[in-house]
Subunit: 80 residues, 2 copies
């Protein structure tokens, strides 16, 4: 089973990498860029065929390792 986890900063959390990207784009002449957000996406292949079990396990992976719940939110998608 293929899964995708998208991890974003919570609203209000400063994202210095996104700020740096926006500043660099402006410096290169891309003045139309009004906002930039960075999303960390992790795609996983799982040896698990049961969807509810896969969702539970992916949530545990996020809570234990992949996301920092204090400053980040995560979204889980099963792709097949």
């Amino acid at each position: 089973m293929q899964a995708r986890i998208s991890i974003r900063f919570r609203p209000g959390v400063l994202d210095p990498e996104a700020t740096a990207i926006q500043r660099s784009l402006h410096g290169l002449g891309f003045a139309e860029v009004e906002a930039v957000a960075k999303v960390k996406v992790i795609e996983l292949t799982l040896a698990e065929t049961d969807r509810p079990t896969a969702e539970t396990r992916l949530r545990q992976m996020c809570e234990k390792l992949l996301a920092n719940p204090v400053i980040e939110t995560f979204e889980i998608e099963l792709l097949d």
Copy 2:
């Protein structure tokens, strides 16, 4: 206009961060994880209403700053 750029390593390019994530997940007992890939996603808000112009400009942003074409591929999506 909202746009999303997804940047991935080309097939065959080693991704040490993905390898580290997979190893850590195995160490935490998530043995069902068979493969991990990391995708860098950048979401942009553009002050541009013409779709073809936006696509051209986003491609230029990727080529000039956001992606390294030697080791990475990029995909552009316009979200509205």
